[in-house]
Symmetry: C2
Subunit: 569 residues, 2 copies
């Protein structure tokens, strides 16, 4: 039966129009080193229209309202500021595609993703022109225009063969209205982000208008990040990081005031922003909150406005979340998502009516998914694993905000590599997890690090956490090594604390106190140091290579029998 | 450009699956006169599956996953109880169409809408079989099955020529799983409601899966009714009233516990439910809250759990909302919507940081719309009226949860009468309103009651409110009467307070103190009583008829000149 509902799409332009009219007087402020430069959504909307006019009428940007259309890609290499917001809201709303470029990747990666996405225009903050300039020699030539916001490094773009424009000069020549593409096919591309690609090339995810809108509806809900017109939002997470975790669109959507830190992501300016801007809600990765915690410890700042913080990107230490709660009355929402899920996928909010201690056992998980994200756990043999809070499997997701492919495969088709997507089209997240009966997710490992032993998963993270609880162990890294009978078995590499030592059998017994016998490694390697990547993460790839090359000093214990227990049981 | 997002629809079945798995242990309770009968979403889901099996496999209900499909319509004539919830969630999720029948309409209207919608099955609460039975002789014969939940009036259905089933017997014969239609075209019909039709025949609105889902996402947001897994929700509004205002789907969506009052909508049982069930949120029409307020005044009830109340359906007296706030700490969310908007369209939540008095000036309005509902005000001449908080026009709406037609026009096409829809497809709400610059809606009149004078609107409600502020006036009713020059002019009918009297010129001066000269009526009728409808509303239709028949005792004053002011200015 036909419904009688109006056929009206969900579009970025609807969010833009709503924020710039109904919430046109709401604040958008950018930190300028010691104060906020204040504007409004209304003004951002008028300037976004000028930008869109310039892009379309002067720079020849193609717009489209259907997935089949030939839309231009407009890149941004910018900090969190109101000009970036103008592109953020304006480019998708005109029917072009916004491509937020990560300022923290290598020159090679930057060139790769500009080429791969086919950016025709890049808007760049003046102080980032050096980074863009370094990538220019590696570009394939599709990039025709660079728009510089603010003072540029005069040398950086000297050899660019296209056109360089000054942001303000460009806008000044165009009228402040634009026929935004409100009524488009909502499956049309709106924005794209690339994964940071620690292994292999970065991969592009293309967000539809539909996905942006749905995500923004969920994000503001009380089981998400609980945002309303009465909030003042401080996105510390960069706007180039997974679409700014959806915060710019969500804030605009509900008319929340927006505080943008520009490039000032250090603890002291952030503390000053909180005191001066009085945000009610902020979002950033755990390392930001660790650093800020020290700065706040000086007792010099008034943080009383800040009620809620969302954190994600990596697991946040529970002790840190508790300390913010106990000392400053700030509630953390531990969240999980990835480029492939358009940011926020699950959020850890405890059920009501629980004692504080029990609440923390929920709040330290990766949380629950909204109804429109389907989740399942898959064992190495492809079987679905029960949601019993114990069994682990690779997390697979399905939903309208979840990617089903990567941009730019062969013959104009998106790429669907089998290690990233199940045969029935679900996203394979590469994370191993358990899920409780009531839907709380706990990540236990990255799939590439987990040990697949006899059809069961063994979590390398669990083994490492247990091992480092032993007083003699300083650092531990567990990797999977091939095994003719079990497929894989764990190998524990470790370093001792200075002056300490232990028998490997004693460590094996120690693990067996808490783990099943079959989870305890037989192979051990005591090292002078655990190898690390340049950013300080344990380099398991190198450890696996060293094992394969016979370069690890491996000691082998007898395999523990099923009945065998550690001495203390 | 093609997005890489997965192509996954929004469906009622997704809400059902989520609520019965992730939130499977959450409470669903039905009031049984002195206690709650408790079950869970998980159990409701299993019984909904049994019902769906019975409907499809035994009763031959047709399901469909596309708008073109021939889906069966399943009616429900039921109170707010867990069995109704089984139909509510199950029928749309199987791909049939749920048609909630209003228990408070006349037999003729009931028969009309069962025939017009084409109900093939009706599920009826036992104590409502009498009402259904009375309508049977007027039915066209498409209704083949009646399923009776609970003990029926044995006589009521005796002459039904189809099959009568006992609800529990029917369910007991079918397995508790069903392949819910999660992956359907989201524009497919999910549910339908008829307007109560105070003028003319009731009109059917058919809700799509997409609309139900979007509405449920908005409804839980902090700028809507702010619902989460941590809430316990008491929907006092009947589930047959505009899809239960979306509450059953929203509660299921987020896993909020649900308290269902069954047929016990009187103040005393409601107060008992609040004390025993400890809801955090409730929703109902203003008359419910007026009556409950008296009962709570006895001081015998613990209402401390209740934090928020949504009210709508008609304007709620601000004094009542304040009293709940001041005496019980309960915050009212004054809301507005209609059958044609799938319930909640706007909600009045004050901006932050305002003094209490100023907050009330926002909270007494009809509130703000979400981003996906576009709004405009249209003057009688078709021109768009500015949102300046002063100018009035007929409220017109556009969006994916707004109806663009009525069910069952000619030749299989939906009906789009021009008095209900603008030429460009917007819903004409029939309400006259003003909207502030920041999007707050204030209804001033029904369009059929407003006076269209010289291209401007004069609000009958404004004139009536002013008139009754005069100490001599007991009651006032202002109607539009034809005028050769101005199109229409207001006529004020009134009654005096007992023993009181006033010169009409004095009343005219009194109005002119606050209104423009052109808004003040020339024609007056002093009556012994203002005519009323059977439900106690002022019968303006009859007044207009009496005027046309020359049956009103009309006195005429000179028209006031533009410069003329009342004596006190």
């Amino acid at each position: 039966m036909h419904s009688t509902m109006q056929n009206v799409p969900l579009s970025a332009a609807r969010l833009l129009r709503h924020s710039t009219s109904t919430h046109g007087d709401s604040l958008v402020a950018t930190w300028r080193g010691d104060h906020f430069e204040r504007t409004t959504y209304g003004q951002v909307g008028r300037r976004a229209a000028q930008l869109a006019r310039a892009l379309r009428d002067e720079l020849g940007v193609h717009t489209g309202t259907r997935p089949e259309a030939d839309q231009s890609v407009v890149g941004t290499l910018m900090w969190n500021n109101s000009r970036h917001l103008e592109s953020f809201l304006g480019v998708p709303s005109m029917g072009a595609v916004l491509h937020t470029l990560n300022v923290r990747i290598t020159t090679q990666q930057l060139a790769y993703i500009i080429n791969h996405a086919g950016d025709e225009v890049v808007v760049v903050d003046g102080d980032l022109t050096g980074q863009l300039g370094a990538a220019l020699p590696h570009l394939s030539g599709k990039l025709r225009h660079i728009i510089v916001a603010g003072a540029a490094d005069p040398e950086a773009l000297a050899h660019f063969t296209g056109f360089v424009h000054d942001y303000e000069d460009l806008l000044a020549q165009h009228p402040a209205d634009y026929p935004w593409a409100e009524d488009l096919d909502e499956r049309t591309a709106a924005a794209m982000c690339y994964t940071s690609g620690t292994t292999g090339e970065p991969k592009g995810v293309v967000y539809s208008h539909r996905a942006l809108y749905l995500q923004s509806l969920h994000l503001v809900s009380p089981d998400g990040w609980n945002m309303s017109a009465r909030d003042t939002v401080l996105p510390i997470v960069p706007m180039f990081h997974v679409n700014g975790w959806g915060l710019p669109h969500s804030a605009a959507h509900v008319g929340a005031a927006l505080l943008l830190p520009d490039r000032h992501l250090q603890p002291r300016p952030l503390a000053q922003m909180i005191e001066q801007g009085r945000p009610t809600f902020a979002a950033g990765v755990p390392t930001v909150w660790t650093a800020l915690h020290q700065e706040l410890g000086t007792g010099r700042y008034d943080t009383s406005s800040l009620q809620r913080v969302a954190t994600g990107g990596s697991a946040c230490p529970p002790a840190l979340m508790r300390s913010y709660h106990d000392r400053y009355g700030i509630d953390f929402v531990h969240s999980w998502g990835m480029t492939e899920t358009l940011g926020l996928a699950s959020a850890a909010i405890a059920p009501s009516g629980l004692p504080a201690e029990q609440q923390w056992s929920y709040r330290s998980t990766q949380g629950r998914f909204p109804a429109y994200v389907q989740y399942r756990l898959t064992a190495p043999d492809g079987e679905t694993v029960p949601h019993d809070g114990v069994s682990t499997g690779e997390l697979e997701l399905r939903g309208p905000s979840i990617t089903g492919a990567y941009h730019g495969g062969t013959a104009g088709q998106p790429a669907r590599p089998t290690d990233s997507f199940s045969p029935d089209g679900w996203l394979r997240t590469g994370d191993v997890a358990r899920i409780s009966r009531d839907g709380f997710l706990t990540l236990t490992d990255r799939a590439k690090d987990v040990i697949k032993s006899g059809g069961e998963f063994i979590s390398s993270v669990d083994l490492e956490n247990r091992l480092t609880e032993h007083p003699a162990v300083f650092e531990a890294a567990v990797i999977a090594v091939p095994d003719p009978h079990w497929g894989e078995r764990p190998l524990a590499a470790l370093t001792y604390c200075e002056g300490a030592c232990a028998q490997l059998r004693e460590l094996s017994d120690f693990l067996a106190q808490h783990l099943s016998a079959w989870q305890v490694p037989e192979q051990w390697a005591v090292l002078p140091a655990i190898p690390k990547t340049p950013v300080g993460k344990i380099d398991k790839k190198l450890l696996r290579q060293q094992y394969a090359d016979g370069a690890l000093p491996v000691a082998r214990l007898e395999r523990r029998s099923r009945a065998e227990r550690g001495p203390s049981r």
